[in-house]
């Protein structure tokens, strides 16, 4: 199973996601990347994230993504 960091690096390898608390405000993920990330999380963890959860605040940083995954029963 991929770690959240590996999923993020797969999308935007040029950024160090461990240094940011807000990937959106820091320009590491844009709106296209957010949807790509949701699809990657779905595929990597075998879940289906609800449309109402496709929000920037749910993928803002690694802790937020882990919390989102936790909601779907995943503890990455």
């Amino acid at each position: 199973m991929k770690t959240v960091l590996e999923v993020l690096k797969g999308i935007r390898p040029e950024f160090d996601f461990t240094t940011s608390e807000d990937f959106i405000a820091d320009g590491m993920l844009d709106s296209f990347d957010v949807v790509t990330l949701i699809n990657e999380l779905d595929q990597s963890y075998g879940i289906s994230i609800a449309g109402t959860d496709i929000l920037p605040e749910n993928v803002r940083n690694i802790a937020a993504i882990k919390q989102l995954l936790h909601k779907y029963g995943i503890a990455p």
Binding site: I24, M28, I49, G51, T52, I54
Partner: protein, 275 residues
């Protein structure tokens, strides 16, 4: 076609479309931009089965976005929705070429035709690059009074179906947010503006939205001065992005000169003209 009353309603409707399976979409919502479209009454939705369509009015046509769970459902729904709309409709299908091809065919079978293909170009810098030159005094921030002239300049120079051209209101906001630089034309010139550059910076990323030189001021290095100022102003940016029309080889060569490379993402712009 129902007006979307709120940003929350957009996400709720996405949720309905999402429940049936994996996400298939060209809808990449940015909450504050959605909010402005809602406030201006530009956003509408149509639901066909499990497929959500979000339409945004832009001048005399509609941008179509979809949220679906399967190609088969989308194919059926697109035909139905297209038959119910009399306006010209455009749809942007984004992704790597192999993923875009199937969706493009699906829209073609519903009456859309290829209009244009855009390629994304990216420039990644390892660390902050030094400013290449002292500030150029003739490259200045656009002022509020420039909004109409700049919006008109883009409308004349660019293709409205392809280029996401800002209207005067959006241009005025961009000017207030210091996103637009200009080189002013000499007083004796017919135009006010010799060239303009509109960019958006978010943290370590920047999108170069529009970089246009008035035809009467070409070959005077206006464009080069604008982009040098842009890079000098973006010292903390690591990822520079732009979209370019795929057969505009002169522009692609120019962007390569400044360090951009095509990154494999394409935007196939399709159009169904008003019957």
């Amino acid at each position: 076609m129902k007006p979307l009353p709120s940003v929350a309603a957009v996400y709720e409707q996405m949720d309905q479309a999402r429940r049936a399976g994996p996400l298939m979409t060209n809808f990449y919502p940015v909450p504050d931009k959605l909010q402005r479209s809602v406030e201006r009454g530009q956003l509408f939705s149509i639901t066909v089965g499990n497929v959500l369509f979000v339409l945004r009015r832009d001048r005399d046509f509609l941008h179509l976005s979809f949220v679906a769970s399967s190609a088969a459902e989308l194919a059926t729904a697109v035909r139905e929705v297209v038959a119910s709309i009399s306006d010209t409709i455009t749809v942007d299908v984004l992704g790597p070429r192999d993923r875009v091809a199937g969706i493009t065919e699906l829209f073609a079978s519903a009456g859309f035709r290829g209009h244009c293909e855009l390629h994304r170009m990216t420039k990644v810098t390892k660390q902050a690059e030094p400013a290449p030159a002292p500030p150029d005094p003739e490259v200045v921030l656009a002022s509020r009074g420039d909004a109409a002239a700049l919006a008109g300049m883009l409308e004349t120079a660019l293709d409205r179906y392809t280029e996401q051209i800002p209207d005067e209101d959006e241009m005025a906001r961009a000017i207030a947010d210091r996103k637009v630089t200009v080189v002013r034309a000499p007083r004796e010139s017919a135009s006010q503006i010799a060239g303009m550059l509109f960019s958006e910076v978010t943290g370590q990323s920047s999108l170069l939205r529009h970089w246009v030189v008035d035809p009467a001021h070409r070959d005077q290095r206006v464009g080069a001065r604008l982009i040098r100022r842009y890079f000098a102003d973006c010292k903390d940016v690591r990822r520079f992005l732009l979209w370019v029309i795929s057969d505009n080889h002169n522009a692609i060569d120019r962007y390569r000169h400044y360090g951009y490379q095509q990154d494999g993402l394409i935007d196939q712009v399709l159009i169904r003209r008003a019957p």
